[in-house]
C-alpha cells in the first residue's frame, strides 16, 4: 500500500526538476551580449524613494505590521480547522470554547482597527 503522500513527493520532484532544468538551461540557450548597463539595477529615470535595504533604505513599517497581524490571525485560523473537522463531536461545549477563544482575538482586532493598525496611508 502506497503512502498517500508519495504522489505528492513525486509531483514535487517532477516540478522541481522542471524548474531547475529551466533555470539551468536559460543562460545556455540564450545569446550573450555583454553590456555594462544591463547588469545595473533597473531604473526609470527617477530615484525610487524607498531604497533597498542594502543601500541603507528601510522597509515601510506597514509591511511589518501586516506580517505580524498575519501571523496572529493565521495561527487563529489554524486552530479553527481542527475544530471545524470535529464540530459535531465537540457539540455545545466546543462552540463555547471556540467563542471564548475567538473573543480575545476579536478584541485585539478591534483594538488594532481602532488604533489605525489596519490603515495604509
Amino acid at each position: 500500500m502506497l503512502d498517500p503522500y508519495v504522489p505528492l513527493v513525486v509531483m514535487f520532484a517532477l516540478a522541481a526538476a522542471f524548474g531547475l532544468f529551466s533555470v539551468a538551461v536559460a543562460p545556455l540557450v540564450g545569446p550573450r551580449r555583454y553590456n555594462r548597463a544591463k547588469l545595473d539595477s533597473y531604473e526609470c529615470g527617477i530615484e525610487p524613494s524607498p531604497q533597498p535595504i542594502a543601500g541603507g533604505g528601510r522597509i515601510p513599517v506597514a509591511y511589518y505590521l501586516t506580517a505580524m497581524m498575519f501571523i496572529l490571525f493565521d495561527v487563529e485560523i489554524v486552530f479553527l480547522y481542527p475544530y471545524a473537522v470535529n464540530i459535531d463531536a465537540l457539540g455545545l461545549y466546543g462552540l463555547v470554547v471556540v467563542l471564548v477563544f475567538l473573543a480575545p482575538i476579536v478584541l485585539a482586532y478591534a483594538y488594532e482597527w481602532r488604533r489605525g493598525g489596519l490603515d495604509w496611508s
Partner: protein, 99 residues
Amino acid sequence: MSPTAYLLLSALLFAIGAVGVLVRRNAIIVFMCVELMLNAVNLTLVTFSRINGSLDGQIMAFFVIVVAAAEVVVGLSIIMAIFRTRRTTSVDDANLLKY
C-alpha cells in the same frame, strides 16, 4: 526510520539554535535562532507523541506554535522600534547598558 533519529535531529537543531543565539550578534538572527529552537522542540514533541502513542505531544506543538507566533510579533516590534531609533539591529551596537 527509528524515532531516535528524529530525536537526534531535533536535538541537533536545538543545539544549532542555542549556539546561534550565543554566537551571533544580529538581533534578528538571534531571534531566528530562538525560533529554530522552538521548532526543534516541536519536532521533539511530535516524535515523542508518536513514540508514546498519544496525541498530547501534537497538541502541545500547537501551543508552541501559538506562543512562537506571539513571540515573533512582539519580538519583531521591539526590534523594529530599536531599529527605527538607532538604525541597527546588531546586539553589539546596543551598548548603553554595561556591567
